[in-house]
């Protein structure tokens, strides 16, 4: 990510179609993996995460001309990915409410049968505990716990104050601890 020159990329994006495409390829190369992991922690399934990632970049590509560079490219992409993921989760939630499925109860079973999950029983339990959190709290918890992201950086990405993020993380940790107490 160190070789990524944001200014040069922005300049290329304002040029002809071929330069624009080359610049976008550089953006995809730099941000696809971190975005993938962020999405994967929210949707759990590799296939869903892959679809969300594709949609994120397609949306970004279609709107690249309206990106003025007021925020960092990473922030812009991350926000598109968050919106895509939340839309997907809401759609999934409404589908599950129709089929009367309990997503949290099924998650541990689902993860055990997932060929792309290599965690042990405790790690599967942690994922099930995280799945009980509201979406935004889950996002904050994942960013802090797995990515060790600073609150200031998170604040820029999510557009929420540092104080609110700290409170959100604190509540998430308490809920997860409670989940473990109840399941032990």
């Amino acid at each position: 990510m160190a070789s990524f020159d944001e200014e040069k990329i922005m300049e290329m994006l304002r040029q002809d179609e071929a330069s624009k495409r080359r610049a976008f390829e550089e953006i995809v190369r730099t941000y696809s993996e971190p975005l993938y992991w962020q999405i994967r922690h929210m949707v759990y399934s590799h296939d869903d995460a892959n679809d969300m990632l594709q949609n994120t970049f397609i949306k970004a590509w279609m709107n690249i001309d309206s990106f003025q560079g007021y925020s960092k490219i990473s922030t812009w992409l991350f926000r598109i990915a968050i919106n895509e993921t939340l839309t997907f989760l809401n759609r999934q939630k409404s589908m599950q409410s129709i089929t009367l499925d309990d997503p949290e109860a099924n998650l541990e079973e689902r993860l055990e049968g997932d060929p792309y999950f290599d965690g042990n029983e405790t790690e599967a339990q942690l994922q099930a505990a995280i799945a009980t959190l509201p979406e935004k709290q889950r996002m904050v918890f994942n960013l802090k716990y797995y990515n060790e992201m600073k609150y200031e950086e998170m604040s820029e990405l999510l557009g929420t104050s540092v104080g609110a993020l700290k409170a959100s993380y604190h509540i998430a940790v308490k809920k997860i601890e409670e989940y473990f107490k109840n399941t032990d």
Binding site: E17, V28, W37, Y116, F117, D118, V173, E177
Partner: protein
């Protein structure tokens, strides 16, 4: 770090428990780029004479409409007032009254003329 967070870390660690198919990240950029649709090129929009002048045309039309509305309202009110005045005048000063007034008032035409021009009422007749 708070106590509860430490306990979760000790119990579960923060290793990512997910994997991806082999070679997924190596081919990811190529796959995403291949799936991108053609970028919509913004065509410059042709500015026609109508596009340039339509704002003025709309404004002119609304002014004309407004003028007719005001005109209609004023004429209607004026006509009502005239009709009202006419009915008042005919009620108060009927022809018979005026004729009998001149017969009994002992006033000649010259005095009447002077009286009307002095008071400014002559024009109203």
């Amino acid at each position: 770090m708070e106590k509860e967070e430490k306990q979760i870390l000790e119990r579960c660690g923060n290793r990512r428990p997910f994997t991806v198919p082999e070679g997924y990240f190596e081919n990811l950029t190529g796959n995403i780029m291949a799936a991108l649709p053609e970028h919509p090129v913004e065509k410059p929009t042709k500015v026609t004479f109508w596009t340039k002048t339509k704002v003025w045309a709309y404004m002119a039309a609304s002014f004309v409409g407004l003028f007719f509305l005001i005109n209609l309202a004023v004429n209607h009110t004026g006509r009502n007032q005239e009709a009202q005045m006419a009915s008042i005048d005919s009620e108060v000063y009927s022809d018979e009254y005026i004729d009998s007034f001149f017969e009994t008032a002992m006033i000649d035409e010259y005095t009447l003329y002077c009286s009307l021009t002095n008071t400014g009422n002559f024009n109203q007749l």
